[in-house]
C-alpha cells in the first residue's frame, strides 16, 4: 500500500469497505504527502487535526457497522472560497486573511455529511478572479507537472488551481472547486485531472464567497470521471438557503457510466477552431473526436455562431456582479480594517489595501459598466448577447446529445509567460470555457492527451441543462479510450 495517494476515490472506497485500509491510514498518507509537497503551495490552511479526527470517526463508524456516508473516510480538500465553520476562510485575499466563518457552506456540509475527511483549504486566485492562482494573497501554487527542464515553473491554472494541483499531486483524493468562467475546467486541464462545472442551479452557492452570482457554480475535481460523479452526487441538490438551486432530484450519476455511447450524437462546433488554434490542442481534440467515433458515437458538425462574443460578455457580466458582490468588504463587520478619519476614508483605505490588483481591476470595470450613461451600452447589451449564446446551445442540443471542445487554448503556461501578459491576454485563456458558463450548461473537463513537452491537455464535454448523466457517460467512455492515467512525478521525499 505504498501508493495510497494514487488511488481513485472509487478504489479507496472498495478497500475501506473491505477493511483492507483504514481512513486514518489513508488520511495519514495524504498528510505526509502534503508535508513533502508544501513547496507547491497548494494549501492555504492545512487542518491535520481535524482530518485525523474525521478519519478516526469514520473508521469507528465502519467498525461499529453504523450507517455510512457515500464517501465515508475519503480525504478531500476544500477550495478556500467555501466557508467552513471554525476554520479560516480567506478567498485567498488579504481582506479575509483572518476571517473565521461561524457557519458552513451547504456543499461542504453535504460532503461532511457524506463522511469525508477534510485535509484543509486549498489555494485559489483571489476571490476566484484569475486563471493561474497568481492573484492569491498567499502566493502562487505550483503546477505539479514540470517543464522540459524538470522545474516547477508552470501555473496550475485557476482559479481552482490549488484544488487541481492538490488532486494531481496526491495531496487529496478529490477537492471542491468553483467555476464562474472556467475555474474548474481550465486548471483541471492544466494539471491533468478531471473536473465538472455542473448545470447552473445544480449545487447550492450558500456559504461560497460570491464572485458572480449568475455564473458561480460549485463542482468536484478528482482523478476520474467516476470520482467526480460520486462527489457531485453528494454536493448537489435543493437547498432552502439558495433561491437559484433547482428543486430536482439528484440522480446517481455513476449509474450513467454504462460504457456505451453507440448512436449518441456528438457536436463539434466549428467556432472553437479559429485560425491559429494551438496545434497540440487541435491534435488532442481530433484524437478525442476519433476515439468517440470509434466508440460508436455519431460526430456532427454544428455551429454556435455567437461563441466569439462569449469572452467579452462574460467579463462585463461577471465584473458587474462582482463589483456589487464585493461591496460588502468594507471594514465594518468582519474584514480587516484600515482606519480613516471619515467613514469614506476608512472604506477607501480598507478596500484599496485588502484587494489585490486583479480584483480592483474587475471592480473598476464592473462599476463602470453599471454606471449611469454606460449601463445600456455595456451591461444590457452584454445580457442580450448572453441570450444569443444561450440560444445557440439550446438550438444545438435540438440535434446533438453532447458537444466536445478543448478545455483551454494551451497547455499550462509558465509564470514568466503569464507575468508579462496584459489583462486582456490573460482573459483569452477562458475562451473555450466561458460560453457554457454563460449558458449555464454542464461541462466536464478531462485529460485526453499530452503536449509535445509532456503536459496534459484536456477536453470539455458539454451537455444539456441538468443532463450531467450524458456528460459523465460520454466522459467515462472518452477517459477509458484515451487511457490517460498519468500523474506528475511523485515528489521525492
Amino acid at each position: 500500500m505504498t501508493e495510497l495517494v494514487n488511488l481513485h476515490i472509487s478504489e479507496a472506497l472498495d478497500l475501506l469497505n473491505k477493511k483492507e485500509i483504514s481512513s486514518v491510514e489513508l488520511t495519514k498518507a495524504h498528510l505526509s504527502e502534503m508535508e513533502k509537497a508544501r513547496f507547491l503551495n497548494a494549501y492555504i490552511t492545512e487542518t491535520p487535526e481535524r482530518a485525523l479526527a474525521d478519519a478516526e470517526a469514520s473508521d469507528k463508524r465502519r467498525a461499529n457497522g453504523d450507517s455510512l456516508g457515500a464517501l465515508d473516510g475519503i480525504p478531500i480538500a476544500n477550495k478556500d472560497l467555501y466557508c467552513t465553520a471554525g476554520i479560516r476562510t480567506t478567498a485567498a485575499s488579504k481582506m479575509l486573511s483572518h476571517f473565521v466563518p461561524p457557519y458552513e457552506s451547504t456543499v461542504t456540509q453535504k460532503l461532511k455529511d457524506a463522511g469525508t475527511v477534510m485535509l484543509g483549504k486549498v489555494n485559489t486566485d483571489q476571490f476566484a478572479m484569475g486563471g493561474s492562482t497568481m492573484t492569491s494573497y498567499f502566493g502562487v501554487t505550483k503546477n505539479p507537472w514540470t517543464d522540459e527542464k524538470g522545474e516547477y515553473s508552470l501555473v496550475p491554472g485557476g482559479s481552482s488551481g490549488g484544488s487541481a494541483a492538490a488532486v494531481s499531486a496526491g495531496l487529496c483524493m478529490g477537492a471542491t472547486g468553483s467555476d464562474t468562467g472556467g475555474s474548474i475546467r481550465q486548471p483541471a486541464s492544466f494539471c491533468g485531472i478531471t473536473g465538472i462545472k455542473p448545470t447552473y442551479g445544480r449545487c447550492s452557492r450558500y456559504g461560497i464567497v460570491a464572485f458572480a452570482s449568475s455564473l458561480d457554480q460549485a463542482g468536484p475535481m478528482a482523478r476520474s470521471v467516476k470520482d467526480c460523479a460520486l462527489m457531485l452526487r453528494e454536493m448537489a441538490g435543493a437547498d432552502g438557503h439558495d433561491s437559484t438551486v433547482a428543486e430536482l432530484p439528484v440522480p446517481d450519476f455513476t449509474a450513467a457510466l454504462t460504457g456505451d455511447i453507440r448512436g449518441k450524437k456528438i457536436g463539434i462546433p466549428k467556432e472553437y477552431r479559429p485560425d491559429g488554434l494551438n496545434a497540440e490542442v487541435a491534435r488532442v481534440w481530433d484524437k478525442g473526436i476519433q476515439l468517440l467515433q470509434d466508440a460508436g458515437a455519431e460526430i456532427v458538425d454544428i455551429s454556435l455562431p455567437h461563441t466569439k462574443y462569449a469572452l467579452p460578455v462574460y467579463y462585463i457580466v461577471a465584473c458587474a456582479e462582482a463589483s456589487s458582490n464585493l461591496s460588502r468588504y468594507d471594514g465594518v463587520r468582519y474584514t480587516e480594517r484600515v482606519s480613516g478619519h471619515t467613514l469614506d476614508e476608512m472604506y477607501e483605505n480598507t478596500r484599496t489595501d485588502g484587494f489585490g490588483p486583479e480584483v480592483i481591476r474587475r471592480i473598476l470595470l464592473g462599476t463602470f459598466v453599471l454606471s449611469a450613461g454606460f449601463y445600456d451600452a455595456y451591461y444590457t447589451r452584454a445580457q442580450r448577447v448572453r441570450r444569443l449564446i444561450y440560444e445557440d446551445f439550446k438550438k444545438a442540443f435540438e440535434t446533438v446529445d453532447a458537444i466536445v471542445v478543448p478545455a483551454a487554448p494551451t497547455p499550462a503556461l509558465s509564470y514568466e509567460a503569464m507575468k508579462n501578459m496584459s489583462p486582456v491576454d490573460t482573459y483569452l485563456g477562458d475562451v473555450f470555457t466561458t460560453p457554457s458558463s454563460l449558458a449555464g450548461v454542464p461541462s466536464l473537463s478531462l485529460p485526453v492527451g499530452l503536449s509535445n513537452t509532456g503536459l496534459p491537455i484536456g477536453l470539455q464535454i458539454i451537455g444539456k441543462h441538468f443532463d450531467e448523466n450524458t456528460v459523465f457517460q460520454v466522459g467515462d467512455v472518452l477517459e477509458k479510450a484515451a487511457g490517460f492515467n498519468l500523474m506528475p512525478h511523485r515528489v521525492k521525499g
Partner: protein, 484 residues
C-alpha cells in the same frame, strides 16, 4: 384651487409623496431574523442581514402578500411579474453595500387614493409600490468621534409607495398621507406608526405660476414624519421657492431635511459626487410570478377598506361625507364607532364621537384605543337620551363621570339618581308650588307676556335639578296655567 399669492402673481403647488411603510411580518424580507421593533441592538440580525460572505437572500412570502393586499388598497394594478434589483451605495448601515429593491419591475403598478379636503374629493394617482429592504440605524451621540451601528432594522421589509405629483395644497398632501395610513392600517400591512418610524415620508415640492404647463425643479424633503409636518414642510418649501423666484433667483433640484423644531427645511450636506446607484437585476433572487388564483384569493379575503367604509357610512348610515371620512380615518376610530352604534342612532352616536369624545381625548392626550369610555357605553349613553331616561344636559354630566370612572352610564344614572322624572303627579305638585310662589308672573302671562313661560320652565328644571323631562314639564305647565 389652492394658490399662494405672491408679489408677481399667483403660484400653484405641485406635490408628490414617497412613503416608506414597514411591512408587518414576523421575520425580515430576505432573512429569518425577527422583524420586531425595539429589541436590544444587533440581536435581531442574521449573517444574511450583516452581509457575511456567501450569505444569500430568500424572499419572505408574507411580504409579497402584504404588498399585494396594499396594492388592492391603492386600487392599483397588481403585477404578475416582478423582480428584484440591487441599488448600490456605501453606507455603514447597509452591510451588503447594496439595497435590494425593485426598480425595473415593481410588484404593484399604478393606482390611486381618494382624498377629501375642503375643496372636495380628488383622486391622487399612485405611481407604483415596490418591495425593498430597510437599512440599519446609526447612532451618532454615544461615543465621541464615532458612530454606532445597530442592524436590527436592517432587512425589515418595506413598501415604498410613490405618488404621482398630483397634489396641490398642504391639506391635500396631509390628507393623502392620512388616508394612506388608514389604508395600510385597515389592511394590517403596516402599523402606520410614524413615531417609531414604521411609516416615513419624503415630500417632493415644486411651484409654478398659475397657467404654466411645465414643471419647475423640485426639492425632495426627507423624513417628514407626521401629517402635520407634511403640511408644514409643503407650506414652508413652497413659500421658500416662491421667494427665490420672486427675487429673481432660480431653484435647483436638491434634497433637503425637515426641521420640525424650527419648522423649516435645510439643505442636506452636499455630497461631493451625485449618487449613481448602478441598479441592476439581483442575480441571487428569482422573479416573483403571481397567479390569477393567488391574486384573486387575496382580493376576496380583504378587510373592508376605508373608502368602501366611508361610502357605506354615507349611504347606509346617512352620515355626511365629511363625518364619514373623519370616522374612517383609522380603523381604531371606525371600529369604536361601529361598536358604539349597535342598536343606536348612528348619526347621534357620530355626533357624540366627533364632539364630546374627540374633545375629551384631545384634552387628555389619549388615543381612541386608550379611551376610558368604552364604545358600548357611549352607545348606551345615546340610548338613554333617546328613550327619555335622561336629558341631553344630564347626559353631558354622565359623560364626564364616565370619563373619570369608566363606569357604564346606566350605573351612573342609577347611583346618582339622575333619572328623568316623568311622574305627572309629582311634576304637577312641583308646578303648583312654583306657580303659587310666583302669582305675579302668572298674572303677567295671562296678560299676554308669553315669554315668561320659559322663565317658569327654567324654575321647574332648577327645582328638579334638571331631572324633569322638559317636554312634559312644558305640557303640564300650560295645562296648569289654563286652570289658574
Amino acid at each position: 384651487m389652492y394658490t399662494i399669492h405672491g408679489k408677481t402673481g399667483d403660484w400653484e403647488l405641485v406635490i408628490g409623496l414617497e412613503v416608506h411603510c414597514q411591512i408587518l411580518s414576523k421575520s425580515k424580507v430576505f432573512s429569518g431574523a425577527s422583524a420586531e421593533f425595539g429589541a436590544e441592538q444587533n440581536t435581531h440580525v442574521s449573517f444574511i442581514d450583516a452581509g457575511f460572505p456567501g450569505m444569500l437572500p430568500k424572499v419572505n412570502e408574507k411580504c409579497i402578500e402584504q404588498c399585494v393586499k396594499t396594492g388592492f388598497g391603492l386600487n392599483a394594478k397588481i403585477n404578475k411579474y416582478s423582480r428584484f434589483d440591487r441599488k448600490n451605495y456605501f453606507y455603514a448601515d447597509l452591510p451588503q453595500g447594496y439595497q435590494i429593491s425593485q426598480l425595473y419591475h415593481p410588484i404593484v403598478g399604478e393606482g390611486y387614493i381618494e382624498v377629501t379636503t375642503d375643496e372636495g374629493t380628488r383622486r391622487i394617482g399612485v405611481e407604483r409600490l415596490h418591495l425593498e429592504q430597510d437599512a440599519g440605524k446609526s447612532i451618532h451621540d454615544m461615543v465621541p468621534g464615532k458612530s454606532l451601528i445597530d442592524l436590527n432594522r436592517c432587512g425589515v421589509g418595506l413598501m415604498e409607495i410613490v405618488s404621482k405629483p398630483d397634489m396641490h395644497s398642504p391639506a391635500e398632501a396631509g390628507e393623502y398621507l392620512r388616508q394612506l395610513r388608514a389604508i395600510v392600517r385597515a389592511l394590517g400591512t403596516c402599523d402606520g406608526n410614524m413615531d417609531e418610524g414604521s411609516m416615513r415620508c419624503d415630500v417632493n415640492v415644486s411651484v409654478r405660476k398659475v397657467g404654466e404647463t411645465t414643471l419647475r425643479p423640485r426639492t425632495e424633503v426627507k423624513n417628514v414624519n407626521s401629517v402635520r409636518f407634511v403640511m408644514q414642510a409643503v407650506e414652508f418649501e413652497a413659500n421658500r421657492q416662491i421667494d427665490i423666484y420672486e427675487n429673481g433667483g432660480t431653484c435647483q433640484q436638491e434634497t433637503r431635511l425637515f426641521d420640525s423644531v424650527n419648522v423649516e427645511t435645510r439643505p442636506m450636506r452636499s455630497k461631493e459626487n451625485a449618487n449613481d446607484y448602478r441598479y441592476f437585476p439581483d442575480p441571487d433572487l428569482l422573479p416573483v410570478i403571481l397567479t390569477d388564483e393567488y391574486i384573486e384569493n387575496i382580493r376576496q379575503n380583504l378587510p373592508e377598506l376605508p373608502e368602501a367604509k366611508k361610502k357605506r357610512y354615507v349611504e347606509e348610515l346617512g352620515l355626511t361625507p365629511y363625518d364619514a371620512s373623519i370616522l374612517t380615518a383609522d380603523h381604531e376610530t371606525s371600529d369604536y364607532f361601529e361598536t358604539a352604534i349597535r342598536g343606536q342612532d348612528a348619526k347621534k352616536v357620530a355626533n357624540w364621537v366627533m364632539g364630546d369624545l374627540f374633545a375629551y381625548l384631545n384634552k387628555s392626550a389619549k388615543t381612541i384605543s386608550e379611551s376610558p369610555i368604552k364604545a358600548e357605553d357611549l352607545g348606551a349613553l345615546v340610548g338613554l337620551i333617546q328613550d327619555g331616561t335622561i336629558s341631553g344636559k344630564i347626559a353631558k354630566e354622565v359623560f364626564e363621570i364616565m370619563a373619570e370612572t369608566g363606569k357604564a352610564p346606566a350605573v351612573i344614572v342609577e347611583e346618582k339618581g339622575l333619572k328623568q322624572v316623568s311622574d305627572t303627579g309629582a311634576i304637577e305638585a312641583l308646578i303648583a308650588d312654583i306657580l303659587s310662589a310666583n302669582m305675579d308672573k302668572v298674572a303677567e302671562i295671562k296678560a299676554g307676556k308669553d315669554k315668561l313661560k320659559g322663565w317658569l320652565v327654567g324654575q321647574i328644571m332648577k327645582a328638579s335639578q334638571g331631572k324633569v323631562n322638559p317636554a312634559l314639564a312644558n305640557q303640564l305647565l300650560n295645562k296648569k296655567l289654563e286652570e289658574v
